[in-house]
Symmetry: C2
Subunit: 435 residues, 2 copies
């Protein structure tokens, strides 16, 4: 209840809409409002009587500083950093508070998932004057420099498949040799093209991207291994990895049979609706303009070392090679990344002096490898959702939700309420709102 | 005592060398090493067995990113912000820790005075991962937007003169009318030129800058009203305002006599050494290249509203006029300032979530008007030095030091030791240093 002077005593919540995954989902209004991927924010904004603001990151979605020329040259790209994005959010919120009657003293909470979660956490670290707290869901803020072993990400992906069906991760591990073997002959390439229903015949020169498309698919499945049918990256059944693994029970099959099974598995991901005529290896889950933005960022600030060894994980062994990574950036963008900048500017592991951030991570989510999974202090809280994939907690409440995510959400709301109450207590002389 | 693995267990102290005052003083090696203006750092670095690093702000001193073209156009100036300077300091310290054997785990303290003090405080706020604490001496971090009344600065200047001799501030207050009267005739201008020993004859068109030169001189005197002979902006006697005021006892004198006394007063400031042949009204205390840098910054980020009313202060009434201020910036630099940015990015009054900053302010120092003069928490500490002018506490210890500054320095060292100890305790597993 609010006194007359302040007819709107809303708490502002800023949802940080940033990376390509988020934008893709938000493009679908059914998903963005009250349903699906960001449903939690809609639900709790009602509960908290909060205004919900979706703040878009510059150079993503419609926020192009130079229109369709924003990516045409490095000069136009020069304003594209996470720090600039945080500054935008700060200016946006100040402006909202100054222009929305009654909002001047409203505490603001930032919420984000994935890169948006990193931004939410960093926003609180850098602008504690602007937001009173942040919920950083599945935010891999420690996936930089040498804070996390480069193989941990792929180990989590692998464990998801390992636990979802006997022979499953082993089938995928064995598939690489099968592909190498088959792709060494014209007949084998032809077989793969047909067996996997590829839209274009596989060429020897495509094999590397083919394998990378496969790897990405397994990674994406790990991210969206939700307990109910959902459409985040793709329309998928409940626990999609279990469904995938139902086709990958026998890792000892000969190459051709193994690859036929791999097709069945891929079909779960790419053709759950049954509408796909063929599989397109240049289609990735995130193939849209916004990918360009994230790719640029990986070549400037967002260097997350990644590797696989084929032992702790089911992928072909690929060591982390910063030089090659940097050379690719040079080739594609004309610049080289600064791998040590993010830890310098956002503190790396030394974040204990900050406050009021909840870091939530899903046990199934490979991004949890670089997440804050242990509480750092009374006000820097880690929440683990063992049955959760990528920011499951930010999705709408669902009957099939495991208890762990229900508990996580309840705790998140509790912290948000606490931060709001503390902020209100501090600014009591200026507000006349009463609960 | 340090274990063998870490032969150098030094604590790093970064002194942030930034504004023109600081650079001018540092150009004189006698002043910079062990003496004078920054002597305190040299003294305590010995006491703490610390390495002392003077970090220069980009676009000041020798740190010109585009050499002598750094100020030639806005494009070259585009990298000149306080945020960029802080990022430089962060990268510098990381680099020092990585390259100096044994320094990897050394806690770092930032110390600065004036703008350097603001930077020290902001550095701790934005990079608590890099420095464990900051001493912000005479740092007017609240002299922005409407956090401080625009006239408070000039009120403090005036009080310094008011308290330093009967009739003193009143003489200065009356001098403006005397100047207006005299400068309205050719004879009067000629009188002023001779009576004040001006290097060039005063023209009617110079009168505004003449008055501004006078005002600046009174302001500068307030900044350097030290208890012993010193050379910060100019070589000066002990308690220079008292000496100045010894010539300004009778505010009721007729215009010409009053101005002859004003000359005697000015002579204290500009000719204490007796070497000046004439007074140059285009000479300000800070007339060097570095002024250009600060002037640019006042036209981008550093908008500190200032005004006088002739009642609470001894100056001619000049209201704060942001439009005119902005127009001047547009004329001189081709850009307009962002008066609300500093409070957005550095928190304005909302800094209570930060920690480990000592804000020291001198009671005589006009910049204290925008300083943090009340402790905000157990770890955001305000220290007042009633008899102190502009960052007196950072000067070398001196027999004539008032008790208040001795106590302030002792307390500052105590806090610095506390921060270092706390940081050591936190990183115990990584260090083998013992006190």
């Amino acid at each position: 209840m609010c006194a007359e002077l302040y007819p709107i005593c809303t708490e502002l919540m800023v949802f940080i809409k940033s990376d390509s995954y988020g934008n893709k989902a938000l493009a679908n209004p059914l998903l963005s409002r009250g349903h699906g991927i960001w449903g939690f924010m809609w639900e709790i904004s009602k509960e908290l009587e909060a205004m919900l603001v979706f703040a878009e990151h510059r150079y993503y979605g419609e926020s192009m500083p130079f229109g369709d020329k924003s990516f045409s040259n490095l000069k136009n790209l020069n304003y594209f950093t996470s720090e600039q994005a945080l500054a935008d959010f700060a200016v946006l919120i100040r402006n909202l508070k100054q222009t929305i009657h009654g909002a001047q003293t409203s505490p603001v909470i930032a919420i984000g998932g994935s890169y948006g979660g990193m931004l939410a956490a960093w926003f609180r670290m850098k602008y504690p004057n602007i937001i009173v707290g942040a919920l950083a869901a599945s935010a891999p803020i420690w996936l930089f420099e040498n804070l996390t072993a480069c193989g941990d990400f792929n180990t989590i992906v692998t464990n998801d498949f390992l636990k979802s069906g006997k022979g499953c991760s082993e089938s995928i591990r064995n598939s690489w040799d099968a592909i190498n073997k088959l792709s060494s002959t014209a007949e084998g390439l032809n077989f793969l093209s047909h067996a996997l229903h590829l839209c274009s015949p596989l060429q020897a020169s495509d094999v590397a991207s083919f394998k990378s498309w496969l790897s990405n698919t397994w990674v994406n499945l790990a991210m969206v291994d939700y307990p109910y049918a959902a459409d985040f990256l793709q329309p998928l059944p409940a626990w999609p990895i279990k469904v995938v693994c139902s086709f990958l029970k026998d890792p000892s099959l000969p190459a051709k049979s193994l690859m036929q099974n791999i097709f069945q598995a891929l079909n779960v991901y790419f053709n759950y609706t049954g509408n796909a005529q063929c599989l397109n290896i240049s289609q990735t889950a995130t193939s849209n303009l916004d990918d360009q933005g994230w790719y640029y960022q990986t070549c400037t600030e967002m260097v997350m070392p990644s590797c696989s060894d084929g032992v702790k994980d089911m992928f072909e062994p690929v060591p982390w090679n910063l030089q090659q990574y940097s050379d690719n950036c040079k080739k594609d963008w004309g610049l080289r990344p600064r791998p040590d900048w993010i830890t310098t500017v956002y503190g790396g592991e030394k974040i204990s002096s900050h406050s009021n951030i909840v870091f939530s991570n899903g046990g199934l989510d490979p991004w949890a490898s670089g997440g804050v999974t242990k509480s750092i202090s009374d006000t820097l809280i880690a929440i683990i959702i063992p049955e959760g994939a990528h920011h499951l907690d930010l999705r709408s409440r669902n009957d099939k939700d495991p208890i762990s995510v229900q508990k996580a959400r309840a705790l998140e709301v509790e912290y948000i309420k606490k931060w709001i109450q503390e902020a209100r207590n501090e600014s009591m002389p200026y507000t006349t709102c009463f609960a």
